[in-house]
Each structure stands twice: as C-alpha cells, then as structure tokens.
C-alpha cells in the first residue's frame, strides 16, 4: 500500500514574530525552518502505513529548492521517496497549489492514482488556508476527511476519527482516500544522526509545478503582527518567598481559592 504525505516548509518561529519592512513576510533572517506539526504526523503516518502494508511512502512538497531540507527530514524519518515541485519561492495561492499537487500526483499514473492513501496537514502552520487537501482530493476524485486525530487501515478501508465536543466522529473511507490530519495522531519519530547523513545522499525527484489559470482569487496585501498591549508582568517575588503574595493574589484578586 503506497502513501504520499504533502508537506510545507515553514519558519520555526519562537518567542516573537517580526515582519520584513514591506510587511509581506515574516523576517526569517534569524530563524530556522521546519515541517509544521500536523504534517510531521502526516509523514509519520505515511511511513507507518506503508511499512505495515509493504508499500512505499513518498513525501512531496511544493516550494523553493530550500524545501529540500524538509523533504530530507522526511527521508531521514525513513520515507522512501521525495518529490519537490520547485517554485521560485513566491507564496503560492491555495487553488494553484492544489492544482499543481493534483497534477503531479496523477501525472505518472494516468487516471488511477498510484497510491492508496494521501495525507495532508489539516492546515498549514503559516498561511492556514484550510483547503488545499480538499481541493486536491476533489481533483483526484478521492474521498476526504479533515481534522483527523486517529487513523486505522483495515481491509481496503481507512477508518478516520475526528474529535467533536464530548467524543469522536468515525468515518470509513474506501481507499484510495485522502485525509487532513492533526498533531496528536501519532508520535513522529526522531530521525537518527545516521539516517540524517544517509538522507543527504538520497536523490529528490524534481518537477516543474503546473499551476493552471484561475479567475480572481485571494491576494495578500500585507501582514500585521498584533501588538500585545500588556507590558511586563507584575513580579510577585523570587522563589518560594513569593508564595504568600501568590496566595493573596489567588484569594483576594482572582478569587480562585
């Protein structure tokens, strides 16, 4: 059973989000990059399902050549193959991205997709458009469920769970199927040093993405980092000596005791 996980390279932001002067992007000059948490789980699941069912796991990304780094992380986690739909680094919009992924996923296989399970992160960590997975699935005429927190493959069926208030909804999808997964689905493995070294030597398939033409669309004007209005915290004290002040606060001001 073959699987494909679609992933995106995003900045590994920490304590503060700083924008570039033109307000078009996050200033990444001091940042590393990562696969977002939902998609790390997508990669892990793709690998586990392929391993359990004698198949091949592929990681695929649309992005600049720098996204090789995230694809290599996928390979180091023991995905078998990696494909980059190489762009010039400009932000692609969701309809274009979905069209290009769907094109790449069907290109070498005619009408029938060659894989059985296609995984996306529920939404990308950065832009969070919440639609690429659905649009790809529609183009490939595959069933799709978003928000998946648990997945089991049995007898040609994907059993997918989604958390709702007070429980979970269970869906049963005939394979081939597509899902948008959330962090918590599994514990993604850490790639060993050795695996990382080996992944550096593996080759990454490259394709030119085919975007297609679309009328209108959503166009970014600028980004804004909401200013936190609060200043520094009121320091109640240092170490255990602060405890009486904390108790006063909890009892008198916050009334939680």
């Amino acid at each position: 059973m073959d699987t494909v996980a679609c992933i995106k390279r995003v900045p590994d932001t920490g304590a503060k989000l700083t924008l570039t002067d033109d307000e078009q992007e996050i200033d990444t000059s001091h940042l590393g990059f990562t696969i977002s948490p939902h998609e790390e789980c997508a990669v892990e699941e793709a690998i586990q399902v392929a391993d359990d069912h004698d198949g091949t796991a592929t990681v695929m990304s649309l992005g600049s050549v720098d996204a090789d780094e995230q694809l290599r992380t996928g390979l180091a986690m023991t995905a078998d193959e990696a494909t980059l739909l190489e762009t010039d680094g400009e932000e692609w919009r969701p309809r274009e991205t979905a069209a290009a992924l769907a094109d790449a996923l069907s290109a070498d296989s005619g009408t029938d997709p060659e894989f059985d399970l296609l995984l996306f992160g529920n939404e990308s960590a950065d832009v969070a458009n919440h639609q690429v997975g659905v649009r790809v699935a529609e183009r490939l005429d595959m069933p799709f469920v978003a928000g998946v927190s648990d997945l089991t493959i049995e007898d040609g069926i994907a059993v997918a769970e989604r958390d709702v208030t007070g429980g979970t909804e269970v869906y049963e999808l005939d394979l081939p199927a597509a899902v948008g997964v959330k962090e918590g689905l599994n514990q993604p493995r850490y790639a060993s040093m050795r695996a990382k070294m080996q992944a550096r030597k593996q080759s990454i398939g490259r394709q030119d993405p085919v975007a297609g033409e679309f009328d209108g669309g959503i166009e970014k004007v600028r980004l804004e980092a909401p200013e936190s209005t609060e200043g520094a915290a009121e320091v109640l004290g240092e170490g255990p000596d602060a405890v009486p002040a904390v108790v006063d606060l909890l009892r008198d001001d916050l009334e939680v005791i």
Binding site: G14, L17, H130, V221
Partner: protein, 322 residues
C-alpha cells in the same frame, strides 16, 4: 443576497454559526442585500424560530433524510446547487472543521477561491478582509476577488449579536439532486468520550507545565496545584514531544485553545505558538527561573524562581488555607 451556513444540534444553532451569522449580517447590511441561511437535516426546520433574531429572512432547509447524518460532499453539493439557483454574493460559514471542509468542497466544485478564518470583511466589488495566519498570531490583510465570495469566520473572536430588528424567517425547503456518490463520506458512528473531570478547553483554572518541569513525575506537583484550584493540567509542545504528557494536554496553535480565569504557566518560555492557545485566559501567572523569558512580557503576574521549589511551597500554603 448573502448566504450563511448554520450548523445546529437538534435545531439549536451552534454558537460559532451565530458568530458567522453576525458577520454575514454586517455584509448584508453594508450592501443592502438580503441575509439568507442554509441548514441540513430534518431538525433544521426548527432553526427558523431561532435565527430570525439574527436578521435571517429566508432559511433554505435541506431536509433530505440522508442528511440527518453529516456528509461533507452532500452538504457541499447542495450548497453548490443553491448557488446556481440563487446566485448569492457571498457564502459565509463558521470556521469549524465542518465549515472549512464544506466550503472548500464548494470552492473546488464551482472553481471559487475561499478566504478562511476571517476576522473582518468589508463588502465591495472586491472584498477587503483580514484573516488569521499562524493560528491567530498574525493577521493577513487581503483582497478576495470572485463572483461568489466564500468566507469562513474565525471561531470565538467576537460575540454573536442579534439584529436591531428581528425578522420573521421564512423556511423554504430546498431539494438538491444528490446521487449516492455524494454520500461516500459520512459519519459512520459517534463514539462518546469516557473522559471524566474538567476538559482543558473549558477549565476555569489551568496549570501548564513546559520543558522546565524536567520529567514526567514532577507533573504530580502541578496536578496537586490544579486540584486545589479545581482546575486541570496542560502542557507545552516541548513537554509533549518529550513524551511527558499526552498531546490532549497540549496548549497552543496545534493543540487546545484555553480560556480560563487563571492560567499558571510553569517552566514555559512563552513561544508565540504556545501563547496563541492561551490568549483567552483572563490572567496569566508565570513561574520561571529566567527573568528574561518571553513569558515575562506576556504574563500578568510572575514569580521568578524554580518551579520545583515554588509549586510545592504553594501547595502547602493552599492546603493551610482550607
């Protein structure tokens, strides 16, 4: 006309759908357009009594009994056919799992762009809108250019508001033609959770532990603190990645969003992705050894110190209080 998707439980509208209706009505008022709604399942007819307060003139009630169970493609196909029949200027849905998924399907079927998790939308030939990125840590200002605009509304960013004047909602059955393939994805069953105790999202007090906790056993101290404040324990992603806590406990962009009266953040540095999960907290108390940690700028109160010393001392003091 502006069309809004209303989710409901047994004919009672969900809070997030009322939020979406509020934004949809603003759009309708600004453009002098009618506000209409669409809802699914036999029980949705009862919504007519409830959403007039929000200014809905017409409810398109899709009562096909196969739709008593949620089926994303059937919902989307129905809405797509309703677009063909009524040609609304925009479709507004709540930014829930269902809202996002269904509207994205509609977008795919009618080749329309979609703007997800909007905070504010200004009507016009082209919509000028703001929407959440990074789980709400960043705002994107964008233009949405389309014949029919598809918009989802960020959850819990504002309170639902009823219209100045209530309307009598006319309930009109809508009967889309749906073949079996529209039902290939459907909720097969719902499993109830056997969790007891307060859930993280609803707790009035949350005690969060991050990498600074150091090992899984030391969460006992945080559990004791949470218990004495009738609260529950949460964690940062760093702690979850260490395997100290289950992912269900994670607070933040890719975990749970909390909105307690008090959040006690122990050994947590205050990364944006963590803080976006607790921006609903009324008060934040940080316990951290590092006076320069980012959380010291983001919390309301702080104790500079080792949580392994401060929390047990606090537990003793709270025991004495009783």
């Amino acid at each position: 006309m502006i069309l809004s998707l209303v989710e409901h439980a047994g004919g009672r509208p969900e809070e997030t759908s009322l939020e979406a209706l509020t934004l949809a009505r603003e759009l309708a008022t600004a453009t002098d357009a009618a506000l209409e709604a669409v809802a699914f399942g036999a029980e949705s007819a009862a919504l007519g009594e409830k959403i007039g307060d929000y200014g809905v003139e017409t409810l398109h009630h899709v009562g096909d009994e196969r739709l008593d169970t949620y089926a994303p493609e059937a919902w989307a196909e129905s809405i797509a056919q309703l677009l063909d029949a009524t040609d609304p200027e925009a479709v507004v849905a709540p930014g829930t799992d269902r809202g996002q998924e269904v509207l994205a399907h509609v977008g795919a079927r009618r080749d329309l762009p979609m703007a997800a998790n909007c905070l504010d939308v200004e009507a016009g030939d082209v919509y000028e809108l703001s929407r959440q990125r990074w789980g709400g840590s960043l705002v994107e200002h964008a233009c949405l250019d389309s014949d029919t605009k598809l918009v989802t509304v960020a959850e819990h960013e504002f309170s639902p508001e009823t219209a100045a004047e209530p309307t009598d909602t006319s309930v009109q059955p809508f009967e889309p033609s749906l073949d079996e393939s529209a039902f290939r994805v459907t909720v097969d069953r719902v499993e109830e959770s056997d969790e007891t105790g307060v859930s993280l999202g609803e707790a009035r007090v949350v005690v969060g532990g991050g990498r600074g906790v150091g090992d899984p056993e030391d969460y006992d101290k945080l559990e004791t603190l949470a218990d004495s404040l009738s609260g529950t324990v949460g964690a940062s992603r760093a702690a979850v990645n260490e395997g100290w806590r289950p992912h269900d406990d994670q607070i933040g962009q890719t975990g749970t969003k909390i909105s307690p009266d008090l959040y006690v953040a122990c050994g947590i540095s205050g990364a944006v992705q963590h803080m976006v999960g607790c921006k609903g907290a009324d008060n934040i108390l940080a316990i951290n050894t590092d006076p320069e940690a980012a959380i010291m700028q983001k919390a309301d109160y702080a104790v500079v110190g080792d949580l392994h010393e401060v929390v047990p001392e606090l537990n003793d003091a709270l025991a004495d209080e009783r």
